[in-house]
C-alpha cells in the first residue's frame, strides 16, 4: 500500500467524544479506532486491518454531529472535537438494514461475524418474500485445485481487489466489473483464473469475509460435511521456501493441512504470502502411507 508512515511519537493527540465519553486517539486514527478504544463493538465487513477500506459496505456507520448523513467510521479520520454517537436508534436501524440487505442478496451463512450481527441487530429476514427478492445466484467457479470462487456468497466488499492490487500483490488480476446489482468481481473479460493474470498468491482468499473465495480443500470438506474447525489445530511456523521468513499458520485437521494463512498483524507480511507459502504444502504430507 502506498502510504507514508508518520512515527507514532510525532503524531499529535486527537480527542473526540464517543457516546458522551471522551476518547484520545492519535492523528490519522479513524472514528472506528476511537470506538474500539471506547469499548464499542462495531460491525465491519469491507474493513480489514491490511487493506484500504473502500467503505462500501456501510455497516460501520455512526452518527457524527454536524453531518447530514451517517458516516463510515472505518475510513473517517478522527478530528479534534468530533462528537460521535453509536448507540442511537438511527445507527442501529441503519446497521440492521445494511445487514438485511447483505443477507437477502448474498449467501452469508459461512460468515460467523455477519451471522452474529444479524442476531444482535434483530434483522428481520422473513419479511422479504423469497419469490420476488433477487439474490446473487452465480454458480461456483472451480477452475483449479487451489481455490474456488463462489460469487453467490460475495458481498462485493472490494477487499480481494485491493489485496490483488495496490494493497499487497500489485497483480491486478481481478477488478470490479459491471454496474449496480450486476457488479461482479471479475478477471479480465471474465476468463478463468488459469487463463488470467492471477499468480495464485491467495492473498484475496485471506481477506474474503464470506468464504466466497475459499481453499479448494475447505470447499471439498464442507461439501462432504467433514469441515470440522473445532477439531483443527493451528500451528505457526516459518515458510521454508526462501529467505524472507514469512510466518505461516497451518490449519490441520486429521493430520492433513487443510488451509494456510499468515498472521495479519505481522509487521513484514501483513498476512500476505506467495503461491508457494500459501499453496505449496503438499510435500509436507507426502508421506508413505
Amino acid at each position: 500500500m502506498t502510504f507514508v508512515d508518520i512515527p507514532v511519537e510525532i503524531r499529535s493527540k486527537v480527542t473526540i467524544s464517543v457516546d458522551g465519553e471522551s476518547v484520545d486517539v492519535l492523528e490519522g486514527d479513524t472514528i472506528l479506532d476511537a470506538c474500539t478504544k471506547a469499548g464499542k463493538i462495531t460491525p465491519t465487513v469491507c474493513y480489514g486491518p491490511t487493506v484500504t477500506p473502500v467503505n462500501a459496505c456501510r455497516v460501520c456507520v455512526v452518527e457524527l454531529e454536524g453531518s447530514r448523513t451517517l458516516v463510515p467510521s472505518c475510513s473517517r479520520p478522527a478530528e479534534e472535537g468530533m462528537v460521535v454517537k453509536t448507540d442511537t436508534d438511527r445507527v442501529t436501524d441503519n446497521r440492521k438494514m445494511v445487514l438485511e440487505f447483505l443477507a437477502t442478496s448474498s449467501d452469508v451463512s459461512q460468515s460467523d461475524d455477519i451471522q452474529g450481527w444479524l442476531g444482535d441487530y434483530k434483522a428481520d429476514l422473513d419479511r422479504y418474500d423469497p419469490e420476488t427478492t433477487e439474490r446473487m445466484t452465480d454458480e461456483v467457479k472451480i477452475e483449479d485445485d487451489l481455490y474456488i470462487r463462489a460469487y453467490d456468497r460475495c458481498v462485493l466488499c472490494y477487499k480481494c481487489v485491493e489485496a490483488c492490487g495496490e494493497d499487497a500483490q500489485w497483480t491486478f488480476a481481478i477488478a470490479m466489473s459491471g454496474r449496480g446489482f450486476n457488479n461482479r468481481i471479475s478477471t479480465e473479460f471474465d476468463v478463468t483464473l488459469p487463463d488470467s493474470a492471477c499468480v495464485y498468491c491467495g492473498n484475496c482468499v485471506a481477506v474474503c469475509p464470506t468464504n466466497a473465495l475459499q481453499f479448494k480443500t475447505e470447499f471439498d470438506l464442507r461439501k462432504m460435511g467433514d469441515w470440522r474447525p473445532e477439531d483443527q489445530t493451528v500451528t505457526r511456523t516459518v515458510c521454508s521456501y526462501c529467505g524472507v521468513g514469512c510466518n505461516l499458520d497451518l490449519h490441520v485437521q486429521d493430520n492433513q493441512i487443510v488451509k494456510v494463512d499468515s498472521p495479519m498483524d505481522h509487521s513484514i507480511t501483513s498476512g500476505n504470502l506467495c503461491v508457494k507459502g500459501r499453496f505449496g504444502y503438499q510435500y509436507v504430507q507426502n508421506r508413505p502411507s
Partner: protein, 603 residues
C-alpha cells in the same frame, strides 16, 4: 506500474490502428499539469482512497480510447481491450472493469453495426416510446432501451450510435426518421426555447443561428464578460461571484462563490471541471446552451480559470449528446485558433485551455467525484467525502466542479457586477433560472424566468397543461411528485424547500390523468436500479428492493401498508448510509407518488 499480463487474444489490424490513432489524437501535450504525488500523508492505511494517491499517467486516456475503438469497430473485443491495456499500461482486468461500467460499450459482436438507443424513460414513455421501440425491434434493428436522452421536449427521442460514422440523435422520432438517421441523415437542432429573445438573458443567443460561430458570438457581445473580468484581479472576480449569491444549478444549489474561493486558496495546479453529464430524467437545459451558444460556456470557463488560477479546464459531456459535442469541439478548436484559449488567452497573460471528455452512458458520472474518477480512467464510482474536490479533486489536485448553467451565469455576473446580479430574483435565490418543461404541456421546452415566478406562471408561459393535470414531477427522478395544490408556490430554492420539494435541475414534467402511474413510477425505480454504481450496499441493494416492493404492490396485490413500511426502511438506509446523492435521492419520487395516491390505489 506492474508488468501488464494480457490474455492470448490478439487485436485485429483495425483494432490496433484504432488504438494507435486514438492515442495520437489525444495529444497529451495539451495537458500541462505535473505528476501528482501522494497528497494525504498521515497513516495512509487508514485514510479513505481518493484521487490523491494516484499517480498521473496515461490512464486518463482510457475512456477516450475505449470510445474511439468502439466507434471504429462497433464493439470491444478481448483482443481490442488487450491492445488498449498494453498501450496504456493499464491491467486488462481494470480495462474490462471500467469498460463494463458504461452502457454504451458492448462486448459481443453486435447484430448490426449501428446501435439504436430508444429513450423509454419518463417523458418519452408517455409519448409513445415503447411503441417506437417495438416497431424498430420488429424490423430487426439493434435496439436498446435507454434512460433519459435529454430530449424530453422533443419526445420520443433516439440516440443512434453508429460505427465508423458520426453519432446522431433523432428528435420527435418516428420509425422513418430513425431509419433515415441510420442511413446518414443528420439532425439540425432547433432551439426548443419558445420564449422570444427579448425575454431572455442566459439564453439570449439561442435564436441567433450565427452565434454558434466565433464571429457571430463576438458581434452579439461575446467575450465582453471576459474583458470585464481581466480588468479586475482574480480575487475580485471571485468575490463578485460570491456577492452575486450564485448557487449551483445542477441540483444541489451549493454556493458557487464558496467553492471558487476555496479552490483559489489551495496551492496549484488547480482544475476547473464543467459537469455537462446532464442525465437527470427530464433535464435538457444544458444541452440547449451547448448546442446553441457553446462559446458562452467557453468564455465563462475562461473567466473561472482566470479567477481561480486554474490553467486546465475540462468539460465532461454525456456520450449521448452528439450534436452538443460537435458544437463544443469545434468551438474549442476555434477559440484556440483565435488565441482565446491557450498559453496567453486573448493577450491577457494567463494560460487556460479546455479538454473535452465524453461520458459513455452512466447517470452516476454526473455525481462530481464519480465524474472525476471517470475522467481519470477509473470506474465512475463516487469517492467518499471528505476530502472534498476543492482540496483533493481531479488527480488529487484542487478542483472546482460546476454545472453548465451555473457556469454561464458567471458571464452575467461579470456584466452586472456581483451586487447587480444579486438584485435580480429573491434575496436567497438570485438571478434567473432555466426550467425544463416537458410531458403534458402545450409548448414543451426550456424557459428562463427570474427566480420568484410561481409554478403556475412558469406553466402558463409554456401554454398551460394539456388534458386534466394530475401531478407534476419536479426535479426529475431524483426529485418528487407534487400535487396541483402547489401551483402558487414560487419556484425559488427557499420556497420549494419550505413546501417539501426540491427544484433539483429544473425539471417540471406535467403528467395528466392519462398516465399509467404504476408503470411510470416503476420506470423511475428501474432507472435507479440500472444507474446505481453498486459500490455501496444501501444503494446497490436498496434500489433493487424498492423496485421489488412496487412490483408486489402492482402485480401481487400486496397491501400498500406492508410495502410502505418496507419502502420507508429502504428509503431510510439509502438516505442515511449511501455514499452519494444517488442513493440519498433514489426513494423520494416513489414515496411522494404513494403519498399523493398516484400508485397503489387498489388497496
Amino acid at each position: 506500474m506492474p508488468e501488464i499480463a494480457v490474455t492470448d487474444a490478439v487485436a485485429t489490424e483495425a483494432e490496433r490502428n484504432a488504438v494507435a490513432d486514438s492515442i495520437m489524437l489525444q495529444d497529451p501535450g495539451q495537458i500541462s499539469f505535473e505528476a501528482a504525488g501522494p497528497a494525504l500523508t498521515f497513516d495512509g492505511d487508514r485514510v479513505a482512497r481518493s484521487g490523491s494517491e494516484r499517480i498521473f499517467n496515461r490512464r486518463h486516456l482510457l475512456l477516450p480510447v475505449l470510445h474511439d475503438v468502439r466507434d471504429a469497430i462497433g464493439w470491444l473485443s478481448e483482443g481490442g481491450m488487450n491492445e488498449i491495456a498494453t498501450a496504456l499500461q493499464v491491467p486488462p482486468a481494470e480495462v474490462y472493469g471500467v469498460a463494463s461500467f458504461y452502457e454504451l460499450f458492448t462486448f459481443e459482436a453486435p447484430s448490426a453495426p449501428d446501435a439504436v438507443h430508444v429513450c423509454d424513460d419518463t417523458a418519452c414513455r408517455i409519448k409513445g416510446a415503447n411503441e417506437l421501440k417495438g416497431e424498430l425491434s420488429a424490423e430487426g434493428h439493434n435496439v436498446h432501451g435507454s434512460p433519459c436522452l435529454g430530449l424530453c421536449e422533443q419526445a420520443p427521442a433516439v440516440f443512434v450510435q453508429r460505427t465508423g460514422e458520426a453519432h446522431v440523435s433523432v428528435r420527435s422520432a418516428t420509425k422513418e426518421t430513425v431509419v433515415a438517421a441510420l442511413g446518414g441523415a443528420m439532425t439540425n437542432p432547433v432551439a426548443p426555447v419558445p420564449q422570444p429573445t427579448e425575454d431572455l438573458t442566459l439564453l439570449r443567443r439561442v435564436h441567433n443561428a450565427a452565434a454558434v460561430d466565433f464571429d457571430g458570438y463576438i458581434t452579439t457581445g461575446g467575450y465582453g464578460a471576459l474583458a470585464k473580468a481581466v480588468s479586475m484581479t482574480p480575487a475580485e472576480v471571485v468575490s463578485h461571484v460570491g456577492d452575486a449569491g450564485l448557487t449551483g444549478r445542477g441540483g444541489a444549489a451549493f454556493p458557487t462563490g464558496f467553492k471558487w474561493s476555496a479552490v483559489a486558496a489551495e496551492p496549484g495546479p488547480r482544475h476547473l471541471v464543467v459537469n455537462a453529464d446532464e442525465s437527470e430524467p427530464g433535464t435538457f437545459k444544458d444541452r440547449v446552451i451547448m448546442e446553441h451558444d457553446p462559446y458562452s460556456l467557453i468564455e465563462a470557463m475562461t473567466i473561472g480559470g482566470y479567477a481561480m488560477g486554474a490553467e486546465q479546464g475540462w468539460i465532461y459531456i454525456r456520450g449521448e449528446y452528439p450534436e452538443a459535442t460537435r458544437q463544443l469541439k469545434s468551438a474549442i478548436a476555434e477559440a484556440r485558433s483565435k488565441g482565446m484559449l491557450g498559453d496567453n488567452v486573448g493577450g491577457h497573460n494567463f494560460r487556460f485551455d479546455i479538454e473535452l471528455r465524453l461520458g459513455a452512458g452512466a447517470y452516476i458520472c454526473g455525481e462530481e467525484t464519480a465524474l472525476l474518477n471517470s475522467i481519470e480512467g477509473y470506474r465512475g464510482e463516487p469517492r467518499n467525502k471528505p476530502p472534498f474536490p476543492t482540496t483533493h479533486g481531479l488527480f488529487g489536485q484542487p478542483t472546482a466542479i460546476n454545472n453548465v448553467e451555473t457556469m454561464v451565469n458567471v458571464n452575467q455576473i461579470m456584466m452586472l457586477g456581483g451586487e447587480g446580479y444579486a438584485a435580480v430574483g429573491t434575496e436567497k435565490s438570485t438571478g434567473t433560472k432555466l426550467f425544463c418543461l416537458s410531458g403534458h404541456v402545450a409548448h414543451p421546452g426550456v424557459y428562463e424566468v427570474t427566480y420568484g415566478a410561481t409554478l403556475r406562471e412558469v406553466i402558463d408561459l409554456a401554454g398551460g397543461p394539456t388534458g386534466n393535470l394530475r401531478s407534476i414531477l419536479m426535479g426529475g427522478a431524483a426529485g418528487s411528485f407534487i400535487g396541483t395544490d402547489m401551483m402558487d408556490v414560487p419556484l425559488t430554492i427557499e420556497d420549494s424547500r419550505a413546501s417539501g420539494f426540491s427544484l433539483g435541475s429544473g425539471v417540471v414534467m406535467l403528467l395528466n390523468d392519462t398516465v399509467d402511474f404504476d408503470d411510470f413510477v416503476a420506470r423511475i425505480a428501474q432507472f435507479f436500479r440500472d444507474e446505481s454504481c453498486g459500490q455501496c450496499v444501501p444503494c446497490r441493494v436498496g434500489t433493487v428492493r424498492q423496485g421489488e416492493s412496487l412490483l408486489r404492490i402492482r402485480e401481487k396485490g400486496s397491501p400498500i401498508e406492508t410495502e410502505r413500511k418496507m419502502l420507508d426502511d429502504f428509503a431510510m438506509v439509502m438516505k442515511d448510509s449511501s455514499i452519494c446523492g444517488l442513493g440519498h435521492t433514489a426513494s423520494g419520487a416513489i414515496l411522494s407518488a404513494i403519498d399523493l395516491g398516484l400508485i397503489g390505489g387498489h388497496s
